[in-house]
Amino acid sequence: MTITITDFLVAFGVAFCGWALQTSVSGITRKTVARMQKRYGPKWYQNFRDIFKLLNKRAITHGWVYDFGVIMALAGIIGTAMFTPVANIVVFKGYDNFFVFVYLFAVGMLGMAMSASGSGNPLASIGVMRALTQMVGYEVPFMVIVLALIHVRDTSSISALVDIQQASGWNLVVMPIGTIVGFICLMGMLGKKPFDTYIAPAELASGPMVEYGGKQLGMLMIMHEIATFVEISLFVNLFLGGGSNILEFLVKYFIVYTLASYVSNVLGRFKIDQVVTFYYKIPILLALIQAGMLVIFGWGV
């Protein structure tokens, strides 16, 4: 398959629309969460205003590593988003392998970590350290589940997985325990409470982001929104059968994100050691059980 310039444009379109979508959805969620907290909340487009305001502010720099890391993070995440299959839009067909996501995602995170450490603030270094620790926590159960899935479905292409699910039922039905584990890991990926230890405003003053202000923070916010878009799309595609059309995909997307926000709204924050022990206890056990059920006994397939 040849990749044309149109494909690139469409891919950029996916990334851009993903950003716009996630920013709106999170705005709506802010509003609904506010209702749970007995208040009205901001306008649904508040996040757009925040981002544009930040891009409009004056930038300060803490050295070239700091600046370059932000650009690298943003570029890495946009690159990841370009591969994301949304409903029936799969731009680079055949390249939307799960492992592509894993590696490309790491580029973005690495850029973020590099930049944050480059800012020289001790709180940022602690935050980065915690973020990496947390990653070690949720990656293991998530990988166990996804590898088991790949093993039984015999493909690691996301769009192929979606096609199989469209034909023979969602993975939610095939592996309910695995979906729960996947959702818990998704909460960790998104940095929703109780897994927002690396941001922890109370003691770390927003952790890696502590030294960011102005344009860089705006870029990081864009990056964060796109990263959220990629992660939730991945979850929808892996476990909820993607979408046969855009609308179905959007509905699933909205439900997953809103659910994650609501759950996080009534939970406190773990300490970092509690995060790791939590992931290494129940989710990993459940993940192994589910993997055993799938791979050894072949239940549900």
């Binding site: 001790p122 602690i126 109370a202 709204n265 406190g268 050691d273």
Partner: protein
């Protein structure tokens, strides 16, 4: 691992008030820590010497921002005892009403405040919304939301407005009916339990070593060491209430005791409203201008039970129109300064903001 120096505050979302904790951390564990107070130092004790006894009523509520009424009570009580003023029965009851309402309001703030360090912002929003209803009551009674300047030597400034009882009962019923929700949200919440149970211990020996009073003391020693019971002031000996105690003092227990104290305060307020005597709410303490009111020569320590423990004024009068010297004993002095120095090391940096909330540390009363 390398030891690094961290500043917690003064500008920090996890801090309660304007104070700073300097600490050396290794990984996440705090090795050494010190409170750096004085950012709220206003020279209260000096300013009070420069003002007349009556002018001071406007100044003293500002010693502790979140809980101003105890200051007024201390000051008024001390001046009355020195001057042998007999306060009418009704004033005592109104004072109890105000003090207990203030206690509920600060406990609600603290219950919600636990949401800050632990990230449970919903609790913060709920508790502040409920606290606001109490501030409405204060506004109706005293005319101010936070600094009431209501308890004055000789009684209270003015009588209760008509029909306020209904508003108070209605508000308290509402708050009491919502307290189980707080219990579900904060105390039965597994993530919150993992943050609070067994964390930030305060054993009984430490209590005596530091001189911690209030909830910290009661939760560790298991004795009802409450000034309202031990040395009843106002008319606390005429109302029935229990003092919740415990023998295992972790963050969870202390928060729970605050919650239980809210129930008891509601109970007291109900009794106060039922038994409210008739009569005048104040006596005239001076002939002519109140600004020229003098207090007889003498020294007195007047203490009341605040939400954080024993809060007292050591007042010295030389018979003049202004106090000769007033020394404030802030209730959070021991746990705030010495406690952080001696017993915060060993906890994690995640616990440092929680320390402030559960120990009950109010930086304005430390700095003064």
């Amino acid at each position: 691992m390398k030891e690094i120096k961290l500043f917690l505050g003064p500008q920090h979302p996890g801090m309660h008030g304007n104070a700073s904790v300097h600490m050396y951390v290794e990984g996440d564990i705090i090795n050494k820590s010190r409170l750096v107070p004085g950012m709220l130092h206003r020279g209260f004790e000096k300013s009070m010497e420069n003002r007349t006894w009556m002018n001071n009523i406007g100044l003293i509520p500002r010693v502790c921002v979140v809980e101003p009424d105890i200051n007024e009570m201390c000051f008024a009580q001390g001046a009355e005892i020195l001057n042998e003023v007999l306060v009418p029965e009704k004033a005592h009851y109104i004072r109890m009403l105000i003090l207990e309402l203030a206690r509920i309001s600060i406990h609600l703030m603290s219950l919600g405040g636990i949401g800050g360090p632990t990230g449970l912002y919903t609790a913060m929003y709920w508790a502040q919304a409920d606290r606001d209803l109490l501030l409405d009551i204060f506004e109706a009674i005293t005319g101010h939301r936070v600094y009431h300047m209501y308890i004055v030597p000789g009684g209270v400034r003015k009588d209760l407005p008509e029909g306020i009882e209904k508003l108070i009962i209605k508000t308290l019923d509402g708050i009491e009916s919502r307290l189980p929700e707080y219990e579900d949200l904060i105390f039965n919440n597994p993530t919150m339990q993992s943050r609070m149970v067994g964390e930030i211990m305060l054993p009984a020996e430490v209590v005596w070593d530091l001189g911690v009073t209030g909830i910290g003391m009661r939760s560790a020693t298991g004795e009802a060491y409450d000034l309202r019971k031990v040395n009843p002031y106002a008319r606390y000996d005429q109302v029935e209430f229990d003092v919740p105690v415990a023998t295992y003092s972790d963050a969870y227990t202390r928060m729970k005791l605050k919650m239980l104290e809210v129930y008891q305060s509601i109970r007291i307020i109900r009794q106060v409203l039922d038994g409210m005597p008739e009569g005048k709410p104040n006596v005239k303490i001076s002939r002519g201008s109140a600004l020229k009111w003098t207090v007889k020569e003498g020294q007195i320590y007047s203490a009341v039970e605040s939400s954080r423990g024993e809060f007292g004024y050591y007042m010295v009068s030389d018979g003049g129109t202004s106090p000769y010297r007033v020394a404030v004993r802030g209730a959070s002095y021991p746990q705030g300064l010495l406690g952080i120095e001696k017993y915060m090391p060993g906890t994690r940096i995640d616990d440092a903001p929680l320390w402030f909330d559960t120990m009950g540390i109010c930086s304005p009363e430390i700095d003064r």
